[in-house]
Every structure is written in structure tokens, then in C-alpha cells.
């Protein structure tokens, strides 16, 4: 009834190619943006920021990055944790070497450094595919973690090998360090996520994204119709790594404040983000958000319900939580192998016909 194309007249090419062609979708999108920017920063407290929103926003950036590589370009990567570590350590080195430069620039530069490293580890993708590429990126994961553990220069020779983020401000507001307010943290991550998601959406529906998808669907056919696999694959690695590097930098500087590479950026992080995009939906921007929300919020919610509401013992709750999350993932993937994004797509299809399905 409300969700339909009919009556929504497009009078220009720009209108015709907009991201949300249906008015209801558009309004919903504006509403979400308005709430995210206009309401949440004023009501958010430390707990909500640090346990829910900031990790969700940062994981969403990382999931977007991996989705570009795996979902859009079809290159499986298990090196996400390692690339996040590159972002984090690059950000740390830049923050401590150039304290007078804005942290925003450092975060973006950290993404740039990660992009270079990503391209380097993306080179084998020109020769190997599928599982073999997954193994090559797995090597990147282990190599990078080993490197940051081994070379003391990366952690400024601190006794314990920990890196910790000193306080940095933007417009007089602390965004890293212990004195950061909840809303500053949230807004800083939100703005970066918004810009990157907007960029990702527009990249994926333009030439670049279409080339990625052509490679994903069938690389030989893509090459025959004139898609250069070298630049296409490497651009996917570069852009994906940029996103993941930014996510790693934020994860360390804004969210954790101190990190140690094996624990914060180990192999389990790579798997976590891979699960996010699989559950959310490969090759979907919305899927990246949905997957990140699912994997971040569900454990926190279950913990609060089981321990906070029902008063269970913490160890029992932790074990049950693992089982519930695991079972939900399996059930989810059996019911809808294409992830939450597909559910969303189906819901929209049904809404279009509602209330008069043929």
C-alpha cells in the first residue's frame, strides 16, 4: 500500500538512478539517518556507546570492507584480523610520531597504509583462486600478527608489547583516550561509517563495482569482455583493505584504547567478520550492517537477559550464549542461505504486493 513504485514519478536521470527508488524506502533511510545523527548522540551513555554502538559501527566498517572483497569481487579472505592490525599499528605509529596532526587524518592514513599492504597480499589472487587464496590470506593473518609481536619498533619498545592510544582531539573534543565522552566516540565512528558506506554503495553500483561483480561471477568471461583482472582484483583488495584498516584504527584508538595484537586481531577476528558478512548477506551493503548488528548485539543481549534478568550463573550463561548464537547461525543459514539481506529483499518484494498479492 505504502511501499510501491506507483505514483512516484521520476522526472530526471538523477531521480531515476537514485539508491532508494521507492519513496517509503527513502523516507525510512532519512529517518534512520536523522535518529542516528540527531537523537542518539544526545541520549547515549558510556555503557551503550562502549558495549553496543561503537563496536557495532566499527564492525560494520570492517564488514563493509570484507564484503567488497568477498561479496562483490569474490575473493575469499581470512586475513581481515591481520589487516585490522595493520590499521591499528599504523594509526598508533602515526599518532605517536605526529601528535599535532588531526586524528581523523591519521585514521584515513592508517587505512591508506593498510590498502598498500592489502594490495601486496592481494597479488597472489592473480594466480590462485578459492580455497587456495583463502590459505594465502590466512598466511597474511599469521605473518602480520607475528610481525607486530616480533618487531618492537611497531609498539614503540614498550615493555609489554601493548599499544595504547594517547588522547587526541578534534575541534577541542577528545575522541581517543580515557576522557572521551560517549557521544564523541559514537559520532566520530558514525561519521566515518556514514561516509564509507555511502562511498561503498556508490562504488558498487558504478563501473568499479560492476567490474568486481563480473570477476566474481566468472572471471574468464569478464576478461573476454574487457575487464582487466589485474586492476580489478587489486582495486578490490586496496579498497577493501582501506575499509578494514580504518576499522582497525578505530577499533584500537577509539574503542579499546589499548590493544595487543594476538588477542585483539587474531584469527578469531577474521572469522568473526567473515561470519558477519555470510550471515548478513554476501554482496550487500545492508547485509554488512545486519551481520555486524547480529554478531555484536546478540551476545550482549543474551548476556543481559540471562545474567541480568534471569540471574543465571555467569559461566552457565556464557556457555548457553555460545550455544544459542551457534544454533541461531546454523538455523539462519539453513532457512536463508543468502543471509539477512535476502530476507530483507524478500520482505520488500512482499511489501510491494501487500495487501493484494496475486
Amino acid at each position: 500500500m505504502f511501499y510501491r513504485e506507483a505514483g512516484d514519478f521520476k522526472t530526471s536521470y538523477a531521480d531515476d538512478s537514485q539508491t532508494f527508488p521507492i519513496r517509503f524506502d527513502r523516507l525510512r533511510y532519512y529517518a534512520v539517518i536523522a535518529v542516528a545523527f540527531g537523537i542518539v548522540p544526545f541520549v547515549i551513555n558510556d555503557y551503550w556507546a562502549n558495549a553496543v554502538f561503537v563496536p557495532f559501527l566499527i564492525y560494520a566498517i570492517a564488514a563493509l570492507g570484507l564484503n567488497i572483497l568477498t561479496g562483490y569481487c569474490g575473493q575469499v579472505s581470512l586475513g581481515t584480523g591481520g589487516f585490522m592490525a595493520v590499521g591499528a599499528y599504523a594509526c598508533y605509529k602515526l599518532m605517536t610520531a605526529f601528535p599535532e596532526v588531526s586524528i581523523l587524518i591519521h585514521v584515513l592514513l592508517a587505512g591508506g597504509v593498510t590498502a598498500v599492504v592489502g594490495v601486496l597480499f592481494g597479488l597472489p589472487s592473480l594466480r590462485i583462486k578459492g580455497f587456495y587464496l583463502a590459505v594465502a590470506t590466512l598466511a597474511a593473518q599469521f605473518f602480520l600478527v607475528w610481525l607486530f609481536n616480533k618487531v618492537p619498533w611497531f609498539y614503540n619498545y614498550s615493555a609489554s608489547g601493548q599499544i595504547s592510544a594517547p588522547e587526541r582531539t578534534i575541534l577541542g573534543q577528545a575522541v581517543t583516550g580515557a576522557n572521551t565522552t560517549a557521544s564523541a566516540k559514537y559520532l566520530f565512528c558514525l561519521i566515518i561509517l556514514f561516509a564509507l558506506a555511502w562511498l561503498a554503495r556508490n562504488l558498487t553500483r558504478g563501473t568499479v563495482g560492476r567490474k568486481w561483480m563480473a570477476i566474481r561471477d566468472m572471471d574468464i568471461a569478464a576478461e573476454i569482455i574487457g575487464v582487466n583482472p589485474l586492476t580489478t582484483k587489486l582495486s578490490a583488495f586496496a579498497i577493501s583493505s582501506f575499509y578494514i584498516g580504518v576499522a582497525g584504527a578505530l577499533f584500537f584508538a577509539v574503542y579499546l584504547g589499548a590493544a595487543e595484537v594476538g588477542e585483539a586481531f587474531g584469527i578469531q577476528k577474521s572469522f568473526l567478520i567473515l561470519f558477519m558478512i555470510i550471515i548478513g548477506g554476501l554482496g550487500s551493503i545492508f547485509g554488512s550492517f545486519a551481520g555486524a548488528a547480529f554478531m555484536v548485539l546478540l551476545p550482549v543481549l543474551l548476556k543481559n537477559v540471562l545474567v541480568g534478568q534471569l540471574g543465571w550463573a555467569t559461566d552457565l550463561a556464557a556457555h548457553v550464549e555460545l550455544m544459542i548464537v551457534g544454533a541461531l547461525i546454523v538455523i539462519f543459514l539453513i532457512a536463508e542461505p543468502h543471509g539477512m539481506a535476502q530476507l530483507w529483499r524478500l520482505a520488500k518484494e512482499k511489501l510491494r504486493l501487500w495487501p493484494f498479492p496475486h
Binding site: 558510556d46 562502549n50 609489554s160 595504547s164 555467569t314 559461566d315 556464557a318
Partner: protein
């Protein structure tokens, strides 16, 4: 959909536990590869506060609440637990994780809550001039490293030159802490230090012990935690490494680490910063008010073990600090800032330990504005596999402060410079 969302929002908002008079959150871990260490510690911690509540009606007449939060030794969950519990008026944190401690040091300093990390955490936090809210008495990692070397010196007639000492360590902030001290000590005493990292969680150590078998170090020190300990001791037994030359830090010296190895672990040594076992008068009270009343924390099967004793010791120091804070503030309902002052003014004497039912259990120490680290003495204990018992084989050994003090100053000064902290206590 809306209904579920509302339910979710409500459930999350209700995350904060019920208000009590004195809140001492227990950031514990009873799951994951570090649970063998986390469970007894959390049980000892909870049981001591239960004893205070049941026997004395709390501290200074105020009941103590210990909301527990599962961290699984994971820093992200640690942050979440900290944020979830801090709103309930938390007085002090004791996360039992060096990684989480590193995260919390700036946060507690900003929020004005004390952080108590006995025998773990950031060693240079012993310098109260820089770390206003962090306390790590009675002993820290560098003390431990130095005590172990002092013990080896005394075994070798004061000379370690030409000896080879291997350090098997958990490849994390925790395991790396002693390296700097050991390097300094190796320069001073002329022994060769071999660093052998073990990655989280440490279930696979074949290659590390192969290296030890090949290099034949005279002594092996270990900074391990969780399942890593038992695996390392098993591997040492497998290559027939002489157990009396294998010394673990106090986190690698609990029953859970040696029991799985059986007779092979006989003679394994570890550091100890307090006594263990149930031969202390306090256990009579614990039995009467806690165990027999069915109020024991967890499964109740860890009572009297090394890490149970350590959890109890941490709870004891915290309760004494709260008592001191009540005395200083003149009120029983103290807040976090007053408890911090209590920690800084705390003095625990042997007489006080005897009053508390734990005579000769731990060392006497006194804190001050400058010194948050205590004397740092430790004993050596040895495992008797036949009797399934740890025997203390030395008295308290003092660390080599001549080496440690400059290192603490150097590391804390680096932290102060990085974070623009002005020195206090001047």
C-alpha cells in the same frame, strides 16, 4: 517487530545490577582456556566477601555486593563488563587479566575508580607518582622475575655466569612483562637469556619444547596462564627436563597446572606470594558461615587451592582498603574516590593478618603516595606429586630493587610522557 525491539531495549537498559551499599564487581572468567585459573580465583574472591557479610554484616556495617561479570579473559568483554558495572557505584576493579588492566588503567583514572592488580597488570604502576589509581602491591612481575633469579643465584653459590636460562612465556602483554627485567638481570649476572614465546591459548607447545631439548638451558622460567601451564609441564615431563630446574611464576603454580601431569610434575617449582592450604584459622569461619551454609561460590571444589587463596587474599586487601577508607572518610558508605585514598593509606601488618585469621599467610606491606607496589617479596614452592601438595621451600626472598627501581621509573616516565601526566606527590 516493534515489540521485540522494545523488549531488547528494556533488557539492555536493565543491564545494571541492583544497587548495594558497597559494590565490588568481580570481573571473572569461568569459561574458555583460562578458566582453570579464573574459577578458583573468582570463588575465593566471592567467598571472602560472603564471609564478611555473613559473619560481620559486611565492612563497617555496610553489606558488600559482588556482581559478577564474565570476561573470558577477553579485552573486549572486559571493557563491556567495566562499562556495565561502573554505573552501579563500583568501588574497585580487580580484573585478573593484564590485557584488561592495560585497557582499564586510563579509564579508571578518568573515572576516579581504583584498580587493584595484585601480582599482575602493569608493573610500572608501582610508581604512584604517575599511576594515581592503580595499586599492585604486594608484588609484581618484575619482583617475581628478580626473586626467581635470586633463588637461582643462591642455588649456584651466587654465580650464574655462563648459565643458560630459558623463558617460556605467554605471547601477550602478560608474558612479555618480565623480559625487560630478565634482560637487565642477565647483563648483571652474566647468564644467557633465551626467549621462547607460546601463542594463545598455548595448547600446542611441541616446537617450543623441542627447542628446549636442543638448547639444553640450565633453567627454565615460565610465565604461563590457563591451559598453557599444564601443557608446558606435561611437555617438560615428556622431554624429561629436570623438574627442579623449572620455575613458574605465581600464575603458573596452582594445583590445576600440575595435577594433570601426575608423577611427572614432581619437583616442579613456582613462585608464591602467599601461603596456601587450609591450615589457617579463617577456614573455620569460612566453613561455618559460608560452606556449611551452602553459600559457597561456584561448585565449591576449589577451597584451599593456591588460586582460591589468591582470590581470597585479593578480597582481603580490598576489604582492608575499604575499611581504611571508612576510617579516613568517617563514614561507612564510602565512594570510589575515598576507597582510592584508602588503598593509598593502607598498611597491613603481620598482627593484622593474624587478627584476620591468616597468620603468616602474606607479607606485611604499607602503601604510600609514591609507592603503590609494596615490598615485592616472594617465596618458592615445590610440588610434591605423591602427597599432591605444594611445599614452601624458602622463606620470603626480596627482589633486587637496585635493578628494578630504575626500570619502573623509566617505564612509568615513558607512560607519563605519552599521556601528558604530571607527577603527583611532590
Amino acid at each position: 517487530m516493534k515489540k521485540t525491539l522494545t523488549a531488547i531495549a528494556l533488557a539492555m537498559a536493565a543491564a545494571t545490577p541492583a544497587m548495594a551499599e558497597l559494590v565490588v564487581p568481580n570481573l571473572s572468567y569461568r569459561t574458555g582456556p583460562y578458566a582453570p585459573g579464573g574459577i578458583p580465583y573468582a570463588d575465593g574472591f566471592n567467598d571472602y566477601f560472603t564471609l564478611l557479610n555473613e559473619r560481620d554484616g559486611g565492612i563497617g556495617g555496610e553489606k558488600v555486593a559482588n556482581p559478577e561479570c564474565e570476561t573470558a579473559y577477553n579485552t573486549e568483554k572486559g571493557v563491556e563488563c567495566y562499562e556495565a558495572t561502573k554505573g552501579s557505584g563500583a568501588l574497585v576493579y580487580n580484573p585478573l587479566s593484564t590485557g584488561i588492566t592495560y585497557q582499564l588503567i586510563p579509564k579508571v583514572t578518568a573515572d576516579g575508580i581504583p584498580l587493584y592488580t595484585p601480582g599482575y597488570g602493569r608493573t610500572s604502576a608501582a610508581n604512584g607518582k604517575v599511576f594515581s589509581n592503580v595499586f599492585n602491591y604486594p608484588a609484581n612481575y618484575w619482583d617475581g622475575a628478580s626473586v626467581a633469579i635470586t633463588h637461582l643465584l643462591s642455588e649456584n653459590g651466587g654465580d650464574l655466569s655462563g648459565k643458560k636460562i630459558a623463558l617460556v612465556y605467554h605471547n601477550s602483554a602478560y608474558g612479555k612483562e618480565p623480559i625487560r627485567t630478565l634482560q637487565e638481570l642477565s647483563k648483571k649476572h652474566g647468564f644467557e637469556l633465551v626467549e621462547i614465546p607460546v601463542d594463545h591459548p598455548g595448547q600446542e607447545q611441541k616446537s617450543q619444547w623441542l627447542q628446549i631439548r636442543r638448547d639444553k638451558p640450565d633453567y627454565v622460567l615460565m610465565w604461563g596462564w590457563g591451559v598453557m601451564n599444564a601443557v608446558a609441564i606435561q611437555e617438560a615431563a615428556n622431554i624429561r627436563y629436570p623438574m627442579e630446574n623449572f620455575i613458574g611464576v605465581w600464575w603458573s603454580g596452582s594445583e590445576n597446572d600440575v595435577l594433570p601431569v601426575g608423577d611427572g610434575a614432581n619437583g616442579y617449582k613456582s613462585l608464591a606470594m602467599h601461603g596456601t592450604g587450609m591450615d589457617y584459622p579463617v577456614y573455620a569461619d569460612l566453613k561455618q558461615y559460608v560452606y556449611d551454609a551452602g553459600k559457597a561460590s561456584g561448585a565449591g571444589d576449589q577451597v584451599g587451592s593456591v588460586l582460591y587463596s589468591r582470590g581470597m587474599y585479593a578480597a582481603l586487601v580490598i576489604s582492608e582498603a575499604i575499611r581504611k577508607a571508612q576510617e579516613l572518610a568517617g563514614t561507612s558508605a564510602v565512594n570510589a574516590a575515598q576507597v582510592r585514598d584508602g588503598f593509598e593509606a593502607l598498611e597491613i601488618t603481620q598482627d593484622r593478618m593474624t587478627e584476620l585469621g591468616l597468620p603468616n599467610f602474606g607479607q606485611a606491606f604499607a602503601s604510600s603516595c609514591e609507592d603503590h607496589g609494596g615490598p615485592g617479596n616472594a617465596m618458592i614452592q615445590q610440588w610434591d606429586a605423591a602427597a599432591k601438595k605444594w611445599n614452601l621451600i624458602t622463606d620470603f626472598i626480596a627482589p633486587d630493587d637496585e635493578v628494578l627501581t630504575p626500570l619502573v621509573m623509566e617505564d612509568s616516565a615513558a607512560y607519563a610522557a605519552e599521556n601528558n601526566i604530571a607527577e603527583r606527590c611532590n
